[in-house]
Subunit: 593 residues, 2 copies
């Protein structure tokens, strides 16, 4: 078991001083959100994360979720009680509207809080993460009756929600969904089919589960336009909200996974007894569109898992490196291994990249708030465009970093890192799912290069680059200290390289989808490094100009310096990959292997 | 379970046409080694690896090694029979001298064969890998009697060997070993102490196990000079070679590890009944020196594990990408995912880096043969210096790649990669140990920058760089085709950058150990990329000038092109890290975290 202390200071610093909480709380929708309230929320969440969820992380890994002989799923020891505490705090509804019974707080704050849940116990936090997605879908697309019957009980956490998308032949390509929804006389549908990889597809923590299911009506056209979305509750719900008999859906098996053992990943079978009762959500044939509504939030949430697991792995490696004594350093014999330069490098890589990814994810979250609540329509659209641009970066880069940092965390532990009891290996096993689900990182990269850059001829990206150049200009001015000016030069170089890569992308990929696919991943990583470099520059300017002299602020300066000196140069490596990639081998149509 | 086909064609190509088998088999020691014999050996090993060892890989992972209540260790189903077949083939003695009953074949060939064992079943192959280390130590340092009693039976595989170095307080720093060896009247020693992380520390596959144990005699000085090496057989052996009673050594527990589950990692307790009987090997106080004798081979072997697991993960990902249909490409709907450019990129990263790392490891192996068997003393010394230079690159870079490639292999599988039954996740779990044991990769980097570069003021490295520049010159000449010339330019740039980084290292680190530690890891990776880039250039020249037109050769050209265009540019990223790293944050003596 490892301890976890949520990085409250970094959340506060980023939210208040770098991202600019004021731009969010000045929105009329958040008139009642004061800075003090934000801090109080962070403190409360921190307590639950560190004292209740974190201690269950290892237990969950060891026990795992179990499918019992009677067909019910059992979560690990302590899960049900922890979930009850989670609901009691009202945390499920943190970003849900007050009209639906939620706290109505900014997504920015919800994102910081969610990072704490994932860092303390990623397998546990998946349950509320999926419910939040279902809440969002029903908030927007559910009928009044559906919202009345289901939504309030999901916002409170009384019932959880699931997303039933994947089928064996329909993974990344949902157009291949085959589950059937046959209309019945009473206006409901009879759902049949098998869904796989259903996170928290069954469990005993709540008395009901609200499955959102993609299925195809009998007369529907092929492809995505034939897919509709249905509510399929585990237990039927009467019109007055009473829980009725079991619906015709059952958990056939749970997957045996590399990590997140405590999260039950279910194969769900619908309609073994003739058909599960389903209720159409939104319009027929618009199922995928309904799902896409919540995609930005869901991808942001998975990106936060990457940041979270990086933070957790870092804290554990840091702690070990301060305790473990081995070898000589310039400070003497039998020094703690943190005194070794190479160990410091590993720890700094973990810390600096985690802070950069956190800045990026919180910034993207704030853009979603602005996109939803700016009074001015043009400003809403601009914020939405920026959020759309950044979300794939957050999802893919942060989750790749999650794996890289968890792996470094194992390495810092030496031989002990490979022993399961140490706990470092669990972070690596848990982290490995995040680059895969909610759209693989390859799909994120293709989304970024295709929908977010090529489609608007890099207009949204260029607006961001221009804004970042303004920051560089300020940072380069005589008022700033040498550290900031050095950093500004490095960010300026990175922005120029990003512009060059973007020109190459526009030039080579506009009419060459295969080339776009081949360039997508390095281009995404380059963009993520540059944009987070911009935010780290803002962080450095704030930290180094602060009249206070705290350990946190001097640590932040070091972390930023390390980012510019040691991590940001990777962007030039990615740029070289893009520039070099004109050869035939990369878009040859036949397999080469 | 996944299939595995040893990359025989690549071994042959590298051994015969790139590394130059002739330089090795022309050595008098290998007068009887013909090219045909080499091919026959590769074929035979390939059969055993693919048909016997590979099918046991998943079984081993699932069952693991078990410590039974009676204190004995049980390997997984099929292990004992597979080990018998392994011994029957004489494989344990492939590189042992004929005088000791071995095949007396070049280390170059042994290395290729070892890669097959590790790729087919890394957890199994650890057993002969450790025995090989013990064989090497006893061949050089054992007395005539010790060699007669123990060595022949280890070369045949009849008994296995272990290395007992680590203790809880003595991991990377062996000077802290506390196990005691008290001399007895009969010339033996009474060994007491506890050793941890002992690979194949106990098992039931052979009737005896020869433990090599580092311990301290009562009058010994502190530190490394007080440590001696002892043979401590599991069962005592009479002077005539009869197996006698159990020695006073027992397996206290087996570690519960992230991977290589089938390899029993034991805690061994010596002397619970008063003292285990030990026989001094070599001189008193020279125990660590005896161990260092075999360090190059052992580190080469672990590096090969990295190459091996990369190859295995690549083959599995390739196979899946050809079977799994999903999504649209420019070639149509429902194409195999290998048709997606981003999947091709992942596969090419795996393939190209694996081939580069293989070239580097086989080249280093050939240098060891030359270092041992060149008739000319100066040439022996030069080869030894080059091997010493390259071994840390092989160990650290290949094993880092092993983890990176196994992780990419998981990613290619999408959701299925996270499911244990698929087998991709096992490769990641298994691969993760290799950067840690046999000297962590941080220690490899410090060895490289300190002992291999700073100590001789980069003399050995500069000789290699000069030789590589000659290759570039040839490649740049008008005789070569455009592909080769482009590649030559890229290698030339990389060599110039390496020279620049080396100048920085010599300048900043010669009297600053902390800075050397801080720069060590990126400097090692830069050097590994450049040296393997040189070898890939030689491979490209050979492949593209061949009169034959085979799929293998055209694939090799693509793989080399990808290396130069997409992977080698990482060397410039490492160079930037080194150049930028003058800031205080990296060698600040106090913990920053």
């Amino acid at each position: 078991m490892t301890d976890f202390t949520p990085p409250i200071q970094d959340f506060r610093f980023l939210i208040h001083d770098v991202i600019g909480l004021d731009t969010v709380v000045n929105l009329p929708a958040f008139a009642e959100v004061s800075p003090d309230l934000v801090d109080a929320i962070l403190e409360e969440a921190s307590k639950l994360a560190s004292s209740v969820l974190a201690p269950l992380n290892r237990i969950g890994d060891q026990e795992g979720a179990k499918l019992l002989d009677d067909g019910t799923v059992r979560t690990p020891t302590g899960w049900k009680e922890a979930y009850a505490q989670f609901c009691e705090g009202g945390w499920q509804g943190i970003s849900a509207t007050e009209a639906e019974g939620g706290m109505g707080l900014p997504i920015l704050l919800g994102a910081a809080v969610a990072e704490m849940w994932h860092a303390s116990n990623m397998a546990f936090a998946l349950c509320p993460m999926l419910t939040a997605g279902a809440i969002e879908a029903l908030t927007i697309h559910g009928s009044d009756q559906q919202r009345a019957l289901y939504l309030s009980r999901m916002v409170s956490g009384e019932w959880t929600g699931t997303m039933n998308l994947t089928e064996p032949q329909a993974g990344s390509d949902l157009s291949k969904v085959r589950s059937l929804a046959v209309p019945k006389n009473d206006g409901t549908y009879a759902i049949t089919g098998q869904k796989i990889f259903i996170t928290y597809g069954d469990h005993e923590m709540t008395e009901n589960i609200v499955h959102l299911v993609l299925a195809r009506t009998p007369d529907a056209p092929d492809g995505v336009k034939g897919i509709s979305l249905f509510i399929v509750p585990k237990f039927l719900v009467s019109e007055t909200g009473e829980i009725g008999p079991r619906n015709d859906v059952s958990c056939v098996s749970l997957e045996h996974k590399l990590g997140i053992h405590a999260s039950p990943t279910a194969v769900l079978s619908f309609g073994d007894q003739g058909g599960a009762t389903g209720h159409l959500v939104g319009e027929k044939g618009k199922g995928l569109a309904c799902m896409f509504t919540m995609m930005n939030n869901a991808r942001l949430a998975v990106g936060q898992q990457g940041v979270a697991i990086s933070e957790r792995a870092y804290q554990q490696a840091l702690d070990y490196s301060q305790q473990r004594k081995q070898g000589k350093t310039h400070t003497g014999d039998d020094a703690p291994i943190i005194m070794h330069g190479d160990v410091q490098r590993m720890l700094m890589r973990m810390r600096s990249s985690t802070e950069a990814a956190r800045a990026l994810s919180l910034y993207a979250a704030a853009q979603l708030d602005l996109a939803h609540h700016q009074p001015d329509e043009n400003q809403r659209a601009a914020a939405q465009a920026r959020a759309d641009l950044l979300i794939p970066l957050v999802k893919a880069w942060s989750t790749d970093l999650g794996v890289e940092n968890a792996s470094l965390g194992v390495q810092v532990h030496g031989g002990m890192g490979f022993i399961e009891e140490t706990g470092a290996a669990q972070h690596l096993r848990d982290a490995r799912i995040a680059p895969i689900y909610e759209g693989t990182n390859g799909i994120q990269a293709i989304d970024f290069i295709g929908r977010k850059v090529l489609r608007d001829r890099a207009s949204a990206l260029n607006i961001l680059i221009t804004e970042a150049r303004d920051t560089v200009k300020t940072a380069n001015s005589g008022d700033q200290n040498g550290t900031v000016q050095t950093a500004a030069q490095q960010v300026q170089n990175a922005l120029e390289q990003l512009s060059e890569s973007t020109d190459i992308v526009l030039d080579r990929c506009s009419s060459d989808a295969a080339m776009a696919q081949a360039l997508a991943s390095p281009y995404l990583r380059q963009a993520a490094l540059c944009v987070s470099g911009w935010l780290m520059l803002r962080a450095l300017m704030t930290a180094s100009s602060s009249p206070e002299a705290t350990d946190f602020l001097s640590g932040k300066v070091k972390s930023c310096q390390f980012f510019f000196s040691q991590l940001l140069p990777e962007a030039a490596f990615m740029a070289a990959q893009i520039a070099n990639c004109s050869e035939s081998e990369l878009h040859e149509p036949q397999p080469l292997f």
